[in-house]
């Protein structure tokens, strides 16, 4: 069930350049059903910024009723979010995430770009818990933007790429996948659309899931703001309810 709840801010810290990790606590966490779901956050009580901000759930702990989000403070809303203490108004969990049950094969590759990395963390944890081998390819702008390398390393091998070559392999995540000859039975990807497109092409032969972003209004499927073009008779699906995670091949790129 979707809840709207004032969640307690347990901690908030900077983990890379402009990247914040916030830990929230509350019964809403009980409702999370799969990795890759997101929450819709009202960053303050004012009318400006007006709308909620969609942020993926990076990891969660049902026992402690906690979840961790990782976000980049760039615009008005996320900068305001970074200044919050005490409580925060959260709506969620929303959308349909990464399927981790009944995965065929042994090895999963998780590919994240920038602020697309966070939801892959819980996904990787759950795959690992289900006995899968997990490989991570994480792309960032530069050395300063890299986060969670160690956390992912605890789960499986990690390949870091940076656009400017200041850390790890220079280039894109797909470059690293080719260079290191990564083989897997399934892929999970989250990042900018061109990256998702490239990943789908590169891993043409295996099944996979990608997580999309779109500007949102309601976050629950009512306003039709967040559609994306899909193959099939509907032509459009809603990122907030049908997604954000879609199966490989569902989306029409470009």
């Amino acid at each position: 069930m979707i809840k709207v709840e004032k969640m307690k801010i347990l901690s908030q810290k900077i983990i890379a350049e402009n990247i914040y990790e916030i830990e929230l606590q509350g019964p809403l966490v009980n409702e999370i059903s799969m990795p890759g779901q997101f929450v819709h956050i009202k960053v303050n009580k004012a009318n400006d910024p007006l709308l909620r901000r969609p942020i993926s759930i990076s990891s969660y702990d049902k026992k402690r009723q906690t979840m961790t989000l990782i976000y980049r403070a760039t615009g008005a809303g996320t900068i305001e979010l970074a200044q919050q203490t005490g409580e925060i108004n959260v709506m969620g969990p929303l959308g349909s995430g990464f399927p981790v049950e009944d995965v065929k094969g042994e090895t999963a590759v998780l590919i994240g770009g920038g602020i697309g990395v966070p939801p892959l963390y819980e996904c990787s944890k759950q795959l690992k818990a289900r006995g899968k081998k997990v490989i991570h390819i994480l792309g960032f702008e530069s050395a300063e933007a890299v986060f969670y390398e160690d956390k992912f390393k605890e789960l499986g091998p990690v390949y870091i790429t940076t656009a400017d070559g200041s850390y790890g392999t220079k280039g894109f995540v797909t470059d690293a996948a080719v260079q290191f000859n990564i083989k897997a039975d399934i892929f999970y990807a989250c990042g900018p659309v061109p990256m998702l497109n490239a990943v789908e092409k590169l891993f043409e032969s295996i099944p996979g899931y990608i997580s999309m972003e779109q500007r949102m209004g309601c976050g629950i499927g009512a306003c039709l703001a967040c559609v994306c073009a899909v193959n099939g008779p509907e032509l459009y699906k809603k990122v907030c309810t049908d997604g954000p995670v879609f199966a490989k091949g569902e989306l029409v790129y470009g």
Partner: protein, 312 residues
């Protein structure tokens, strides 16, 4: 709850609060949060003759205390609305106001004729003001003569009272109101969105794929309030007001300005419980203001020294 019960052409409402068209779909999503039967009414998403896919994305952008949208009337088309959405809504004790849109007069007439015959549709809302439809939407909403004719043609075929939704993008909204009144409108709904725009700082290009979008939310409330104030003084048609409403006090403002009922749009996105919360809070506010019925406040902004004591 008698304090809130109102009666308008075609609409016997438990209370004067309803979600605004396009901001609540057909109710399916918000029924997760509360029982839709609590609502006074529901203004469902615009329905056109054929299915519409709407505009390319991005379709929304945020502005200071407001948002822009250019959804482009995405909807499954008359047939699907009649066969699937309206029957589903019939499961609730909830009179529906069907928002009717189109590109040509014939579209409006055809949709109105059919949808007004659905059992739970108690009124139509003629959307002559959607700023995001290119083929003719603008002209319908800003030319009094065209609006009058369209209203008359829809009235001629509709089984239920017809409310016309006015655009704020005009020099004189009173003229528009009087024109559709002449055309036979049973009521007015106002306002639709103001045409606005946001640019991406870096590229300088419009954020919204449609380039311009409709501005809604608290930012436009002062404009909406002024328009209701103006129009309610020149016509006796009941007004369902909207534009930035997000609290019970906002509703009081619009009723004071001269509206008979209030619709909530953008605020649903911020707080999915907002309509319910407003309905829950209104009685205590009426007590505080020492009035017995919400319509005792109707038009008090402009009524000179008068204590309004009638009911709609």
């Amino acid at each position: 709850m008698d304090k809130l019960r109102i009666s308008l052409p075609g609409l016997e409402l438990k209370n004067p609060i309803m979600p605004a068209s396009g901001c609540f779909g057909f109710g399916r999503e918000y029924c997760q949060f509360y029982d839709l039967s609590l609502l006074g009414s529901i203004m469902v998403k615009a329905t056109t003759l054929e299915q519409r896919l709407g505009n390319p994305v991005p379709r929304v952008a945020e502005t200071s205390s407001g948002m822009l949208n250019a959804i482009g009337l995405q909807n499954p088309g008359l047939e699907k609305v009649m066969n699937t959405e309206l029957p589903w809504l019939a499961g609730y004790d909830l009179p529906v106001i069907a928002n009717v849109a189109g590109s040509m007069v014939e579209d409006y007439v055809e949709v109105a004729k059919n949808i007004s015959r659905a059992g739970n549709v108690h009124a139509l809302e003629l959307n002559i003001s959607c700023p995001n439809v290119k083929e003719g939407g603008i002209a319908f909403g800003t030319d009094p003569e065209v609006a009058r004719e369209l209203t008359a043609k829809v009235k001629a075929v509709s089984e239920v009272p017809v409310y016309v939704k006015l655009s704020p993008n005009v020099a004189d909204i009173k003229t528009m109101a009087l024109a559709v009144e002449k055309g036979g409108a049973d009521g007015l709904t106002m306002i639709n969105t103001l045409v606005g725009m946001r640019l991406d700082h870096r590229t300088g290009k419009p954020v919204i794929a449609n380039k311009t979008g409709g501005l809604s939310g608290p930012a436009i409330k002062p404009v909406a309030l002024r328009m209701v104030y103006e129009v309610s003084q020149v016509t006796d048609l009941p007004i369902i007001a909207m534009g930035g409403i997000s609290s019970a006090w906002d509703v009081i403002d619009f009723i004071s300005a001269g509206a008979s009922a209030a619709a909530v749009g953008t605020a649903n996105f911020v707080n999915p419980f907002v309509c319910k919360e407003i309905i829950d809070e209104l009685p205590a506010i009426l007590d505080e203001l020492e009035v017995e019925h919400i319509h005792d406040l109707k038009g008090r902004s402009w009524k000179v020294g008068e204590t309004a004591d009638y009911r709609a």
